[in-house]
Amino acid sequence: MHEEDNLEGLPDELVAELEKADKPGALITARVDRSIANLAREQFAARPERRRRVARAWYAVAATVVLAVLVLPFSNRLGTDDDALYADVDNSGQIDIADVLTLARRSNGKVSQAELDAFAMRVVALANSGDAS
C-alpha cells in the first residue's frame, strides 16, 4: 500500500501538518552517543557511593548502640559504688580504717584526699558498722 493512498480523504491542512512532522529525526553522532553514555555511567557510578555513605551512617549508629549497651552497666557501677576503691585493701578480712591508711600510703597521691575521706566516712558510718559489732 502506497503512502499517498493513506492520505486520501484527509483535509489538506492536516496533510500539510503531517508532512511537516514527517521529517527525519536529528542525527545522533558518535560523539553525542559517547557523551550520553558517559553521563549515564557517571549517574550509575554515583548511586553505590551514596548507598555506601548511608550504610556507613547506619553502621555508626549501630556501633554506638552496641557500645552504649556494653559500657553503660560498667559505668553505672563505677559511678554509684566504687567497690574497687572501698575494699579490703590490706586483705585483713574486714574493711576498716587500716585499709584507708594502706590505700593512702600505696597510692602515692593518686587517690585524692576527698576520696580517702569518703572511704573513712564509709568505714565509720553507723549504718555500715552495725553487723561488725
Partner: protein, 150 residues
Amino acid sequence: MNRWLGVIALVMLFAASPALADEPIRFASVDVYIDAAEPMAAWQLEFFAVSGRMQVVGVENGDSTAFDGAPYYDRDAVENGRADRIVVADYSLDDESALPRGRVRVTTLHLVLSGDEAPKFNTRLIVASTYQGKRINAGISFEIAEGSKQ
C-alpha cells in the same frame, strides 16, 4: 576549741529536742584511751551503752599531734540525734617517730544521758595498726566525767 564546739552542740541539742526536755537529762564526757605497744598510725573503735539511754552529741580529737584533726565519725547521725552508739576512727601519715605509742587519749565523746537508769558503757577496739598497716594488739579503756544535771 573542740571542747567549746562540743558544748555548743550539747546546748543546741537540748534546745532542739522536746523529747529530751521532758525528762531529766545529764551530760557526760568520756575520754577513750588506746594503749599500743608500737607506734600507732591508725585506730578505730566503737563506743556504746549496754544499759541506759545515751546519745553522742560531740566528738573531739585526742592528745596526739599525729591525730590533730577531728577524727572520722558518722556526723550525720550525731547531728540528727541518732547516735546511740558511735564508731570513731583516724589515721596518720606522719613519720613513725611522730606516732604515739603507749597509753594515749584518742578521743573524747560528749554524751547526753536520759532516763532514770544509770547507763553502763562499753567500748571495743576494732583495729589499731602501725604505719605499715600491721595490726597491733592494743588495749582500750575509757574514763567518764559526769556533767551537771538538767
